[in-house]
């Protein structure tokens, strides 16, 4: 299967050689799974180390005069307070307080702000940032870099063999270092709930680094299918599904991304709505659901209360390989968002029992101190 309109990552040939099933994703031909399949790849990552190609994601440098303070004009984060060597999760907000995208922004070195955004959103994101901040700073896209994620309890030991300095980093540290003989930007983060790293390297080095990591018995390649089930178990929202331009960070249970300093200053896009929601509450909230019987409840399935009234909708859901049962995320009124609340999910017309469950479904295992 090929589609001439799809872009490929620098690792395309390596995926095909490894027996990947390639699918269109965010405008790229991407591996949804390799030979082992989603279930085994998921469990491998939870027990060992999984290697992901996430080169479709948008990497850029925000450069110019005071990029940290400039970035605060489009996000609700405290970037002026972001220390060298640290990374922060944030969100790009529209003027109505809706989420244009979620992202990571870091200071791995003295070269402005290193920003990583979702692949499907990157063209729009970078244009908005460029337009909004024109005259102060500019976005320099790093199209010549690949991005790998190495995730799982053995990721740190594996990477230490190639980049000893990485072992001295903790969760949300980011550093520009030489690794694998290449100029790398390494952050101790990821999208699985496990300890692990994201590794930005020149595209020309990508296949060599990929193969070097896969030569380690503790590492297997993991496709986007397992990436999705891993992030779902970790309670992490997926842009375009769980959050979009209509959803505020308060509704999305991402209010932690609205920093204390900025809440007081009310100086971010959509501050009127978001401040009101923080003070007075919201009409819908993102929650986790465990499906107690029947089929997995997937995106678009309705959520009903015990009396059968529709109260919300599932925004992503599937089968949890680690827990052996279906789990989901969706939006419900705050009164029903309390862990333990019994609800119904409607799958193919049939109501099935479900229960609001605190997220993450599977505990995070971030290394916050050494």
């Amino acid at each position: 299967m090929s589609d001439d309109n799809l872009k490929t990552t620098p690792l395309n040939a390596a995926h095909i050689a490894a027996g990947a099933r390639m699918v269109p994703f965010a405008g790229y031909s991407m591996p949804v799974q390799y030979k082992d399949g989603v279930m085994k790849e998921h469990l491998w990552t939870r027990e060992n180390a999984g290697l992901f190609d996430v080169s479709h994601m948008g990497q850029a440098r925000l450069r110019g005069v005071s990029p940290l303070s400039a970035f605060e004009e489009v996000t609700p984060g405290d970037f002026i307070g972001l220390k060298p060597g640290k990374q922060r999760y944030s969100i790009l907000l529209n003027k109505k307080g809706g989420i244009i995208d979620d992202l990571m922004a870091a200071r791995p070195d003295d070269d402005g702000l290193f920003v990583v955004v979702n692949g499907a959103c990157k063209d729009n994101d970078f244009k908005i940032i460029d337009d909004e901040l024109a005259g102060q700073v500019r976005i320099d896209r790093l199209e010549d870099r690949a991005l790998l994620a190495l995730q799982g309890p053995k990721a740190a030991a594996v990477l230490a063999d190639h980049a000893p300095e990485a072992a001295t980093m903790v969760f949300m540290d980011a550093r520009s270092i030489t690794a694998f003989g290449a100029d790398a930007i390494i952050s101790r983060t990821g999208y699985t709930g496990e300890d692990g790293y994201e590794i930005s390297i020149p595209a020309s080095e990508a296949e060599r680094v990929w193969n070097t990591l896969l030569a380690d018995d503790r590492v297997k390649p993991i496709g986007l299918g397992a990436r999705d089930s891993l992030r779902l178990e970790a309670g992490l929202p997926l842009y375009g599904h769980d959050v979009d331009e209509t959803v505020s960070p308060v509704e999305a249970d991402l209010a932690f991304a609205v920093s204390k300093k900025r809440r007081e200053a009310r100086d971010f896009p959509g501050a009127a709505r978001i401040s009101k929601e923080l003070a007075e509450g919201v009409s819908r909230k993102r929650v986790g659901l465990t499906v107690l019987e029947g089929a997995p409840a997937r995106e678009g399935a309705e959520i009903a209360d015990e009396a059968g009234n529709v109260v919300g909708v599932i925004t992503s859901g599937g089968f949890s390989p680690s827990l052996g049962k279906p789990i989901a995320m969706g939006f419900v009124p705050p009164a029903l968002a309390v862990a333990g609340t019994k609800l119904k999910v409607i799958v193919r017309g049939k109501p099935q029992s479900a229960e609001v469950t605190a997220m993450p479904f599977v505990p995070h295992r971030y290394v916050r101190k050494l």
Partner: protein
């Protein structure tokens, strides 16, 4: 055993057709985590939704390869959906259908034709 282009298999004993998915289909789906089978008494026409099979990632519809009345869904798949992967062309069957017209069965591909079809994919 006969086959469809949707990768279902059908066997016929008397006027009772047993329906499942082929080993190829099971491999393509990946690990099956849930199967919804039809209840006895459901009338189906060729191409109607007969069952739903779910992997970690997605739900896939299984279509009735022949018309008739469902006389049994495979209840064993409720507790052991992985049977579809382990024994797709045996214990992993989905439903038994009392068929209305045997010619519908005869018109399906035999194994040689199905193997040729797989080669063409």
């Amino acid at each position: 055993m006969r086959f469809t282009k949707d990768h279902e298999w059908v066997t016929l004993e008397g006027d009772v057709a047993t329906v499942g998915i082929t080993a190829y289909a099971a491999e393509q789906l990946g690990d099956v985590v849930f199967v919804e089978v039809p209840e006895a008494g459901k009338a189906v026409k060729t191409g109607d939704n007969l069952a739903v099979v779910e992997s970690v990632k997605a739900a896939s519809d299984i279509y009735a390869p022949v018309s008739g009345e469902v006389i049994e869904g495979n209840a064993g798949l409720g507790d052991a959906p992985e049977t579809v992967n382990d024994q797709p062309e045996k214990a992993g069957w989905f439903a038994k259908i009392k068929i209305a017209d045997q010619a519908e069965y005869e018109a399906l591909m035999d194994r040689a034709a199905y193997e040729d079809f797989l080669q063409s994919l």
